[in-house]
């Protein structure tokens, strides 16, 4: 084997290893996707919640946009996020999704559909006034809570 080939193999290996290390920082792709998805919910809920709590002035356009985002997010196909082997036992310290979710897939899907329904309902009314935002956020939060109650490990 030529020294230059060995060198390129070694270099190639080093590049691959550092890429893998960098990849390690981002964690399991499915868990990362779930967290990103939840973060997008939180961001949009924060816009609506800020108005609902009186921390921000009601803005019909911004409220409509945030609620439409929630509705769109809730209707995304998430099959590739919730893959077996990514529960809190398999990925301790990274995943807070309890193994129970994978024992109750039909229930988890039903809760997802309830969330979509609540978010769509909110998106249809959020532009009509502050009271509608306040009234519509409650059901969204309760569905979030139902799923977290059943399938989420507490944050330490």
């Amino acid at each position: 084997m030529k020294p230059s080939l060995i060198l390129s193999l070694v270099l190639g290996g080093a590049v691959a290893a550092s890429a893998a290390l960098a990849g390690g920082h981002t964690g399991n792709p499915a868990v990362t996707a779930r967290k990103a998805h939840m973060q997008l919910y939180a961001h949009n809920l924060g816009i609506l919640g800020g108005m609902a709590r009186g921390n921000a002035e009601y803005d019909a356009e911004a409220a409509s946009a945030a609620a439409a985002n929630l509705a769109a997010l809730a209707q995304l196909d998430q099959t590739s996020y919730w893959v077996p082997g990514t529960d809190s036992d398999a990925l301790p310290g990274e995943s807070r999704t309890l193994p129970a979710l994978w024992d109750n897939i039909p229930d988890a899907i039903a809760k997802g559909e309830e969330l979509a329904a609540a978010a769509v309902a909110l998106s249809e009314t959020a532009g009509s006034g502050l009271e509608a935002v306040q009234a519509g956020l409650g059901p969204v939060g309760r569905v979030c809570g139902q799923c977290h109650e059943a399938y989420q490990m507490p944050r330490n």
């Binding site: 939840m38 919910y41 939180a42 961001h43 809920l45 924060g46 919640g49 709590r53 809190s88 036992d89 807070r96 309890l98 956020l137 409650g138 939060g141 309760r142 979030c144 809570g145 139902q146 977290h148 109650e149 059943a150 989420q152 490990m153 507490p154 944050r155 330490n156």
Partner: protein, 296 residues
Amino acid sequence: MARILGMIVVAACVVIAAGWAMTRPATVSEADVAAITPDLEQGRLAFFAAGCASCHAEKGSEGDARLVLKGGVRLETEFGTFVAPNISPHPEAGIGGWSTAEIVTAIMQGTSPGGQHYYPALPYGSYARAELQDLVSLAAFLQTLPPDPTPSQPNELSFPFTLRAGIGAWKLANGGTDWAVDVGEDPQLMRGRYLAETLGHCGECHTPRNATQGLDTARWFAGAPNPSGRGNIPNITPAKLNWSEADIVAYLQTGFTPEFDVAGGSMTSVVQNMANLPVEDLEAIAAYMKAVPPVE
């Protein structure tokens, strides 16, 4: 685990040697409760503050279903599984045939009408400091709820935790009625402490336990292993929880954290209960939480 097991066995033996009298289940007398006139609205608020529905209503139930106290919620702990009993006013399956004093005794003293110790999965260690007026009202309110015929299911415990004499020893070791936090004489802080330390029984999950499985008041609210599931219950002392009082109130009303994450685990049910309390009570709890000594 082995150490705790050993201590409980030793404690049980000591108790047997010292005689039954020492651990005789305590009761609240008929005369004590007869002097009090129940107030159903006060009882309703005590019901939500005490979180009865979290264990005695069907898991995950919402709205009026939380008033059907058929039991059945399973608390899976290191000692085995406790199954919450039916406490609906059904005459056979529930507490329909119980006197007010028997109900109050069960809640405050952890003693059944038959004179048996209840396991402290029923948080009577916290409820012991409740005002009799609240509990007499709560007992009256419970009797107004829908009766349900579902029979209570037995606990699934392993030896030696099947020996209820050990509970008498536990009561002796952990029967103190002192407050965990000194809040002085401020009425709002005293109200918040009453709700959080007694009826709300927040410390049962948020405070770590000592060698006798009592609450470690030196580390009040400092977080602890989840008593019924995976993970840990968070430290909510001011050292770790930097939410404003308004944030805490909003969380207890809606479940939304300041970052708009949503409460999960057992807190989901707690929020459903707390949302029924007047905002002044939630503000009192928030003020009290800020007065809890910070523990890292």
